[in-house]
């Protein structure tokens, strides 16, 4: 495998090329812009056979990918910050249609250019899978894995993966690029069992009729629509009314649950084939005998590893839980981890205004609620609007976590 020093945006472009995405529609926005440029170069040079749509805005980018996916293409788009917000309604559309497209997001704020997770967090409830990467190698690897996850017959959900703007998207580091043949073995071409074509129309209706959910009560056993059968144009028209529509939400939730297992399995397989894996939903670093564990996503997790090493060197038993999959959220993993440490300190690069603490902080606390013995959970806001997150900042947070474990619930802090 060749190794090249490249910026995160290029790693994304390589992933898309290796995955043989054949429909690309993306609109430039800092700091994602060069993803689109690299891809258009690949296409122009004949290195990537794809329809490249020079869209006039992010909504069109998202919808063109959704529609292309319905027609049978493997679609890709990329955006950042305001661009992601602009396509919010379309994101709901892609998710409702269960279209297995992949989107890279160079995480950045809405009104600011520097990196934070507020853009993807604002899409938390759309039903997309959300993975966060901590270095450019992971960016490339996750980009390749993403289609395997999205297109899995039991999942059929769109996948977004985030790379912190500037810190990854424009920072260069060595990345090993797998060979095309090996990737082809890992990721076969996109195929759907139920293509939506004029000639399948009459059949589609019959299939739909068979699965029409009629007035299920709260006690009746749930029979989910098979993943592919959810994926048809019929999902978008108001067929069957609210009963059916509510059923689809439920079916979607089931798919998210299945995705947890699929994300783990794909990661393991990738590890076997390419020698690199990322822990599935979470990666635990030096947590085996930890008294306290930090929780972080994206590049903060990367910096946190260095902080953990320093703390350990000083005899302080702090570990790191790098949260890779924010959606689906790994509740089970946190319950297990939470039972073994005295304190968890969640580093949030986001905020939900009006409620205490960051979004990941609240998810972690909610996951731990059912434990008989709960660790102290602390929350820290940091790195918002691209504010630099230094190793020593995280060291101090780790020390604080040790000091405050077992005590009264600490307030949420800002660094």
């Amino acid at each position: 495998m060749k190794s090249e020093v490249m910026v995160g945006n290029k790693a994304v472009a390589y992933a898309v090329k290796l995955a043989r995405a054949n429909l690309i529609a993306a609109y430039p926005i800092t700091p994602q812009t060069t993803i689109v440029q690299y891809l258009s170069e690949f296409v122009a040079e004949g290195e990537l056979a794809a329809e490249f749509v020079n869209v006039e805005g992010e909504i069109t980018a998202q919808l063109a990918c959704l529609a292309g996916s319905i027609a049978g293409a493997r679609a890709f788009t990329a955006t950042s910050g305001p661009g992601l917000l602009y396509m919010h309604e379309a994101l709901h559309g892609t998710a409702r249609y269960r279209a297995p497209i992949v989107m890279a997001v160079a995480n950045r704020g809405v009104r600011t250019m520097g990196p934070d997770h507020s853009d993807m967090m604002a899409q938390r409830d759309t039903g997309w899978i959300q993975l966060y990467c901590e270095n450019n190698q992971e960016v490339l690897d996750t980009g390749v894995m993403a289609y395997r996850i999205a297109e899995d017959a039991g999942v059929r959900l769109p996948v977004s993966f985030g790379l912190d703007g500037y810190v990854l998207s424009y920072t260069a580091e060595p990345v090993e690029v797998p060979g095309q043949e090996e990737v082809d073995e890992f990721l076969p071409p996109y195929k759907t069992e139920y293509p939506v074509l004029p000639e399948t129309f009459d059949e589609d209706i019959e299939r739909y009729k068979r699965h029409w959910a009629k007035g299920k009560s709260i006690d009746e056993p749930f029979t989910p629509l098979a993943a592919d059968e959810s994926f048809s144009h019929l999902t978008m028209v108001n067929w069957g009314g609210p009963h059916d529509q509510q059923w689809r939400w439920r079916s979607h939730q089931e798919a998210m649950t299945r995705a947890k297992q699929v994300i783990k399995e794909v990661d393991e397989e990738y590890g076997r084939r390419f020698g690199r894996s990322y822990g599935g939903l979470v990666d635990e670093y030096r947590c085996e005998d930890a008294d306290a564990a930090l929780v972080a996503m994206g590049t903060v997790a990367s910096t946190a590893r260095a902080a953990v090493d320093r703390l350990r060197r000083d005899g302080k038993r702090v570990g790191l839980v790098k949260l890779r999959s924010f959606r689906p959220f790994p509740r089970e993993e946190f319950r297990r981890i939470g039972a073994d440490v005295d304190a968890l300190c969640v580093l949030d690069r986001s905020i939900s205004l009006g409620d205490e603490g960051g979004i990941v902080y609240n998810s972690v606390r909610s996951a731990l609620y059912g434990l008989d013995e709960r660790p102290t959970v602390m929350g820290v806001h940091l790195g918002m609007a691209g504010k630099e997150v230094r190793v020593r900042d995280i060291e101090r947070i780790g020390e604080r976590a040790l000091a405050e474990r077992g005590g009264a619930e600490p307030p949420v802090r800002w660094v």
């Binding site: 069109t60 919808l63 996916s69 319905i70 027609a71 293509p195 004029p198 028209v237």
Partner: protein, 301 residues
């Protein structure tokens, strides 16, 4: 294509086969439903349809895969994706068509539509134009004609209905230098079907705006739906033409136009017009008609 005269169609030339089941929830006398029926009759069942928020999802009985674009503004975007996607899987034979209301065309849909035209996407965009946001109760759109009463351009002491002229979408799109633009009317089904059939054989971006009276919103008896459409054409309010690669051709050219009042007096949305106002509309309509007559057979660019 300029200079080639195509054979005129009669009702008997119109294909008997329907691409629509009967029994949809559209209003009695809905010309939008008729527009959908005629368009897909001409396109045939090897096509797909995009719709957005409008009355069109009510024409759910059209027998081709129909996709509801999850964003109101996204008709052209969705069409783009379908066209590209079907191309990728080797199915460019599938006609990718939109059946979109005027709001999703000239207002919220404008940006995406202009871009798709500029990119010359291989799609056929049909606007059934009932001249307001009828599905939500008849609010004005950019396609609402001058002085029409709508839910948001009411008639009062200080307001006489819509103060602005109707946005001229066919000309705007023709100037994007697309292969084919046409206007049509449900009252002239032979002309409509012939144009759709002709456009079907052209590659690239095609647009057709179909005048489709809405009895509920225009204040017209359902039975008069077609009559009003016909009078709109015969009085020059809605001229029938096509523009192929910039070459302009009127497809209906009476020697003398009927007075606009013939069409307007049947419509409750114009009931409030004074003689002066009617005169202004008459004058503008005539002026616009004469300009088009002068343009007939010539190049737009």
């Amino acid at each position: 294509m300029s200079g080639v005269t195509r054979k005129k169609m009669s009702i008997r030339d119109i294909p008997r086969e329907e691409a629509m089941w009967p029994g949809n929830p559209a209003c009695q006398g809905c010309a939008g439903s008729l527009a959908g029926r005629l368009v897909f009759k001409a396109l045939g069942r090897n096509s797909v349809r995009v719709e957005v928020a409008s009355c069109a999802p009510g024409f759910m009985n059209i027998r081709v895969p129909s996709f509801f674009s999850p964003a109101f503004e996204g008709a052209a975007a969705f069409l783009t994706g379908l066209a590209r996607g079907y191309k990728i899987i080797g199915r460019e034979d599938i006609v990718v068509a939109g059946l979109i209301g005027d709001g999703g065309t000239v207002d919220i849909g404008f940006q995406g539509l202009s871009a798709a035209a500029e990119r010359n996407e291989n799609v056929f965009f049909f606007t059934y134009d009932n001249e307001a946001y009828m599905n939500t109760g008849g609010q004005r759109s950019g396609a609402t004609p001058y002085l029409a009463r709508t839910a948001t351009t009411p008639v009062s002491r200080v307001s006489r209905g819509k103060a602005e002229e109707k946005k001229n979408m066919p000309m705007i799109l023709a100037l994007h230098r697309v292969p084919y633009v046409a206007t049509a009317s449900v009252a002239y089904p032979e002309d409509l079907v012939e144009k759709v059939t002709h456009g079907k054989g052209i590659r690239g971006f095609r647009y057709m705006q179909i005048n489709a009276p809405c009895p509920t919103g225009w204040g017209v008896e359902p039975k008069d739906s077609i009559k009003v459409a016909r009078l709109s054409v015969e009085s020059g309010i809605w001229p029938l033409y096509e523009i192929e690669e910039g070459h302009f051709r009127l497809t209906y050219k009476p020697r003398e136009l009927k007075p606009v009042t013939d069409a307007l007096k049947l419509q409750g949305r114009f009931r409030h017009l004074s003689d002066d106002e009617l005169g202004v509309i008459q004058e503008r309509t005539l002026g616009e008609w004469e300009r088009l007559v002068g343009l007939d057979g010539k190049e737009l660019y």
